[in-house]
């Protein structure tokens, strides 16, 4: 009996959510009694608010006569009555609580769940629901109906019993030896065995395992790793699907709120956007400086500047390097992916050594790269490191170092508010002082190029919630300007804490939240908790990066800190009250892509299909597009075969759901689609897989790389190497190499990914020139012979005529004239004399093409818009395209064949060679654009 009582009632499983319903149920009878009452009260209130008071006519009359004074008072009374009525109406204009919640929180699902409204409104919401009998309980959800649900409910019950028993036993035990325990807690009893938290093992030259996870969450992280802020994000963002992690992480994709425009604003105009980028991978490289140099050179850091005087600051550890790493393969370079490299400064003692010492000196580097190319880079590094004597070593620091990225005008302010230097006394850490002096910087890009700061911060929980910092209006402050230009960080360069495993480890042992709460409770309210010996310094590195293309675009702060410290920093960052109002927003993968797109910067890996990472991204996207396309009903999806491209061309070029580089370069297709899918998936999973055994047999790696994956033959060509091939030289571009380009439309046009990029069709051979008498008479079109011949011969002029008039001065005008002349018989000029008229009439009669019946649509143009060029002019594909909020029109980023691009530039000159036509997959209309290598 007793046990039965202790059992949780049947409602226990859903008691978590349904608060008001239970009250509504328990008090149903009572509510039934009260409801009419409350309703009546409400009605009275409502009527009262709507009623406008008025006076009887006697108020105006003085003994039945009109009186001026009374007249006045009557009007005044009326004015007052109407005003009060308006006021009362407004006040009683009843809004439900659910109409008052912030816009971002409004939603239809579960809008009757009081737990969805802010706490201050919760009581009112409960009352309102009670008053108008809002049905909040669904009968079908109250009792477990399915077997699975029943089993879950039973398990929950059992667990509850177990927990209750355990609790009881503990209580009994505490009661039994109560005083002793209390004394033990006091701490004055002799210390028992002191245990040290185990330092995590980091094995050299192999991959490391993800951090040990609490058993409660372990089952959910078997095939992926959670970010340190996973739980926070999972409540607020759409995460990757549990079964389909991205790059072996559960990554927030986008906020559940509507955030496209807010993100644009916060990143450019007002506010800040932050990302938990802990999924970025970090690799440590240790060894002699000469060996390190050799390794880095092999990774593509071959610019002589880096290893000469210009790179001195970088090698000393006061600047970072960011760029694309590559690997050598059979006399050709293949891009791996972008990386940031930081050197650890040498300690002062080592620095005093001789030059010969310098060569032998041991250096440390951090290489921060994208998780999609991590394994490739790691394997490459491992290979290179093994070749060096004396041996170098690499460490996989993926789960040791986490990072947060912040961008936007408020980013510096937010970071200043959250990260407080550990040492109060100025001068202890020079870089911390520099960081503190940055208040007033509204754009991280205004810092010197490749600048970064490394210092120790204190636990942000000590000053939680963060307070707004004093932002001086220092737009033209000479002190700040001097700091920004001089960047005095070289003074006392000391090894960074983040490089040291011990420092990272101690920083990970932050005091518990409980103890911090206790300390807060005992200190004066409103005062920061002082730092004690129990609070370890958190070593952080702050990288300031600016986008390569747009000069005035917002830069980004990247905060690197020990993995375990990311969460408290994140909590504080999200609570920081910006001086411009609001808090920093958070973003997901989509926002990351959006912002890079708006800055016209290619995003890795999506816009780099010439890399292995980009390739697997592209394959993934193809599968996704295919899935989405398959899901659509037959009538509502694009039927690729029946696409009419005009001039008798039918069907989409290549696969409409892919950036079909196989088609462009004539590479072998991946046989049929069915096995292809599985294969692709297998490949992508394989490339992500991190089995350790693969590292032991490099032959295996080689084998997978050499396996005939057609797309992997495509190479990415950097801007520099493409520039080296540009016109003055006559070298040919390497086979099937692509360059990433940004596309700016000259006029209208918005394209989406997979859009086709064409170059302008070449000038057709001039038509047979007719005698001078027929000079201005349109020549008849030569009879169509081939399919491409069906295209109008003046297609190039038609497209050039689409250039806006301003940029194309006289030439464009002429083009347009010729276009007009050739497309239709000319009109009679207004003031033509008889002879000219006769001539024109004769010419129009001679025109072979009959005007009626008109040729079918899309034969010569698409409603006046030029047809898109033929398939032989295809040069590439769009990888990212949309309407760009920063440009106010459509922009796109794509990849084009380097060979064909060079050909065009050499053939037609730089001005017209950069023009292209972009056509959405599945549409027949193309838009004129200008491409630029990035």
């Amino acid at each position: 009996m007793d046990r039965k009582k202790s059992l949780p009632d049947a409602k226990a499983p859903d008691a978590k959510r349904k608060d008001p319903p239970s009250t509504a149920n328990n008090t149903k009878n009572q509510a039934n009694d009260t409801r009419p009452n409350s309703r009546a009260v409400k009605r009275v209130k409502f009527n009262d608010a709507r009623n406008i008071r008025s006076q009887p006519p006697d108020a105006v009359l003085e003994d039945g006569r009109l009186d001026l004074q009374k007249f006045l008072s009557a009007r005044e009374f009326e004015i007052k009555a109407l005003e009060t009525s308006m006021r009362k109406c407004k006040a009683s204009n009843s809004t439900r609580v659910f109409q008052q919640v912030p816009r971002a929180m409004r939603r239809r699902t579960a809008s009757h769940n009081v737990k969805r409204v802010p706490k201050r409104l919760r009581e009112r919401a409960k009352r309102e629901q009670l008053e108008d009998n809002t049905p909040t309980v669904e009968a079908r959800k109250r009792r477990p109906r399915t077997t699975r649900a029943r089993i879950r409910a039973e398990t929950a019950k059992k667990l509850d019993i177990l927990a209750a028993r355990k609790r009881k036993r503990r209580l009994e035990k505490a009661a039994a030896d109560g005083p002793a325990v209390v004394k033990g807690k006091g701490g004055d009893v002799k210390p028992t065995v002191q245990s040290r938290a185990p330092r995590p093992k980091i094995r050299r030259d192999t991959l490391n395992e993800p951090p040990k996870i609490k058993s409660k969450f372990r089952k959910r992280q078997q095939n992926k790793t959670w970010l340190p802020t996973h739980v926070w994000h999972a409540k607020r963002a759409t995460m990757t699907e549990p079964s389909k992690p991205q790059w072996r992480f559960a990554i927030p994709i986008t906020s559940t709120e509507k955030c496209y425009r807010p993100t644009h604003r916060a990143s450019g105009q007002k506010g800040a956007v932050a990302w938990d980028m802990s999924y970025m991978s970090t690799i440590g490289l240790y060894g002699s400086s000469l060996g390190v140099e050799r390794v880095l050179r092999a990774l593509g850091l071959t610019q002589e500047g880096l290893w000469a005087v210009r790179g001195q600051k970088w090698r000393a550890g006061s600047r970072k390097w960011s760029g694309l790493l590559s690997k050598e393969r059979k006399e050709s370079k293949r891009i791996i992916g972008p990386a940031t490299i930081i050197w650890n400064p040498e300690s002062a003692m080592e620095n005093t050594g001789e030059l010969s010492d310098l060569k032998k000196s041991q250096r440390q580097l951090l290489i921060r790269t994208h998780p999609s190319c991590f394994l490739e880079l790691f394997n490459e590094l491992l290979k290179l490191v093994k070749m060096q004597t004396p041996r170098l070593h690499i460490e996989d620091l993926r789960f040791e170092i986490g990072s947060i990225e912040v961008t936007g005008p408020g980013s510096t302010e937010a970071l200043l508010g959250v990260l407080k230097p550990y040492y109060d006394k100025p001068g202890t850490e020079c870089q911390a002082d520099v960081f503190k002096s940055l208040a007033g910087v509204t754009n991280p890009a205004s810092l010197p190029k490749d600048a970064f700061l490394a210092f120790s911060a204190r636990d942000p929980r000590l000053a939680y919630p963060p307070r707004q910092i004093n932002v001086p209006d220092r737009n033209g402050d000479p002190v700040l300007l001097e700091t920004l230009t001089k960047w005095p960080v070289e003074k006392h360069l000391a090894p960074f804490g983040l490089f040291s495993r011990d420092t990272r480890h101690t920083a990970s042992q932050l005091p518990t939240q409980k103890s911090i709460n206790r300390r807060k409770g005992s200190s004066v309210p409103g005062k920061e908790v002082p730092v004690t010996a129990a609070d370890p310094p958190i070593p952080v590195i702050l990288l300031a990066s600016k986008s390569s293309t747009a000069v005035q675009a917002q830069g980004t702060w990247t905060l690197m800190a020990p993995w375990k410290c990311i969460l408290p920093i994140w909590y504080s960052l999200m609570r920081y009250p910006l001086s411009t109002g609001g808090n920093p927003r958070f973003g997901g993968l989509d926002e990351q892509r959006q912002i890079t797109f708006e800055q016209n910067v290619p995003w890795f890996p999506g816009d780099f299909p010439g890399t292995d990472a980009g390739l697997s991204w592209e394959l993934e996207q193809r599968l996704k597009r295919k899935r989405d396309w398959d899901r659509r009903p037959r009538g509502k999806r694009v039927e690729w075969k029946s696409l009419d491209l005009g001039a008798g061309r039918k069907g989409e070029i290549g696969d409409g759901l892919a950036c079909d580089f196989e088609h462009l370069f004539g590479l072998p297709k991946n046989n049929t689609l069915g096995p292809d899918d599985t294969r692709n998936e297998a490949v992508s999973v394989d490339s992500d897989a991190m089995e350790l055994d693969r590292l032991d047999k490099p032959q295996g790696i080689q084998a997978t790389e050499d396996s005939p994956k057609p797309l992997s033959m495509i190479k990415h060509l950097t801007k520099a190497s493409f520039g080296a091939l540009a016109p003055p030289t006559h070298e040919k571009a390497p086979r099937s190499s692509i360059i990433t380009v940004t596309l700016a439309f000259t006029g209208r046009g918005v394209v989406s990914p997979c859009a086709r990029i064409y170059r302008l069709p070449p000038q057709k051979s001039p038509m047979p020139v007719l005698p001078s008498t027929q000079a201005e008479v349109p020549a008849t079109e030569p009879p169509p012979s081939t399919v491409s011949g069906l295209l109008p011969s003046n297609l190039r002029e038609q497209w050039l005529g689409k250039l806006p008039a301003k940029s194309s001065s006289s030439a464009g005008g002429k083009d347009r004239q010729t276009k007009k002349r050739s497309s239709a018989p000319p009109r009679m000029p207004p003031g033509a004399d008889l002879a000219t008229r006769k001539r024109l009439l004769a010419a129009s009669l001679l025109t072979a093409e009959p005007q009626y019946p008109q040729s079918s649509t899309n034969q010569t143009d698409v409603g006046g818009h030029p047809l898109c060029p033929g398939e032989e002019e295809l040069i590439g594909f769009v990888t990212a395209g949309a309407f760009s909020l920063s440009e106010g029109k459509g922009t796109a980023i794509g990849s084009v064949s380097a060979e064909k691009a060079l050909e065009t530039i050499r053939g037609t000159g730089a001005r017209e060679g950069h023009l292209c036509v972009v056509r959405n997959a599945g549409e027949s209309l193309g838009w004129l654009a200008r491409w630029e290598v990035v």
């Binding site: 009359l61 006569r65 109407l82």
Partner: protein, 186 residues
């Protein structure tokens, strides 16, 4: 969601005769025009009067059309002002009926003129207009008191500010057609 759309009419009752027991010329014209209405006039009398007028003008169809939403929101006999609610589609029927009514709809009602001063989509704007007009009247009454001879008819008809047209002003407001009828009484 279907929304019931209404129009609110602000109506003044204007008297043209001198009340019984009042010596002619003893009171300013301003007061004569804005006499109080008899206390017998209730909202239902008013509605009944309008309905019967609509029925006689527009027949059963018209009376049926306005029947649904006709309501008196505010009736102040002391200032001879009332606010009427009519459905948006048919508010002109009620307006026409008001124009044709020539006495207060009670037994032995005095001859009067119903002047629609403002038509609006929200009661708020009507109230604001009523306040504005009351203020104007107070001002001109004060002028009267201070001895300056004011233009009583002008004060009565002056719907808008001095600079604007005295007669009909139709605002270019898309939804709430605000119309000011100046001369319906004369």
């Amino acid at each position: 969601m279907v929304r019931l759309k209404d129009r609110y009419l602000l109506v003044h009752i204007i008297y043209t005769d001198v009340p019984a027991g009042q010596a002619k010329g003893s009171v300013p014209d301003l007061l004569l025009y804005n006499q109080p209405t008899t206390g017998e006039l209730r909202a239902q009398h008013l509605l009944k009067g309008i309905r019967s007028e609509v029925a006689s003008l527009f027949g059963d169809c018209g009376s049926g059309a306005i029947d649904r939403s006709l309501q008196v929101k505010y009736l102040s006999p002391a200032t001879s002002t009332f606010i009427l609610r009519v459905s948006r589609d048919h508010h002109r029927l009620a307006w026409a009926a008001l124009s044709f009514m020539d006495h207060v709809p009670v037994r032995n009602g005095r001859p009067c003129v119903f002047r629609v001063v403002r038509v609006s989509g929200t009661i708020r704007k009507v109230e604001e207009e009523a306040i504005r007009r009351a203020k104007l009247l107070v001002l001109s009454a004060k002028q009267e008191m201070s001895g300056k001879c004011s233009d009583a008819l002008g004060a009565l008809l002056r719907g808008k500010d001095q600079g604007r047209s005295l007669t009909t002003v139709a605002d270019q407001n898309d939804d709430s057609e605000m119309e000011d009828v100046g001369t319906s009484g004369d």
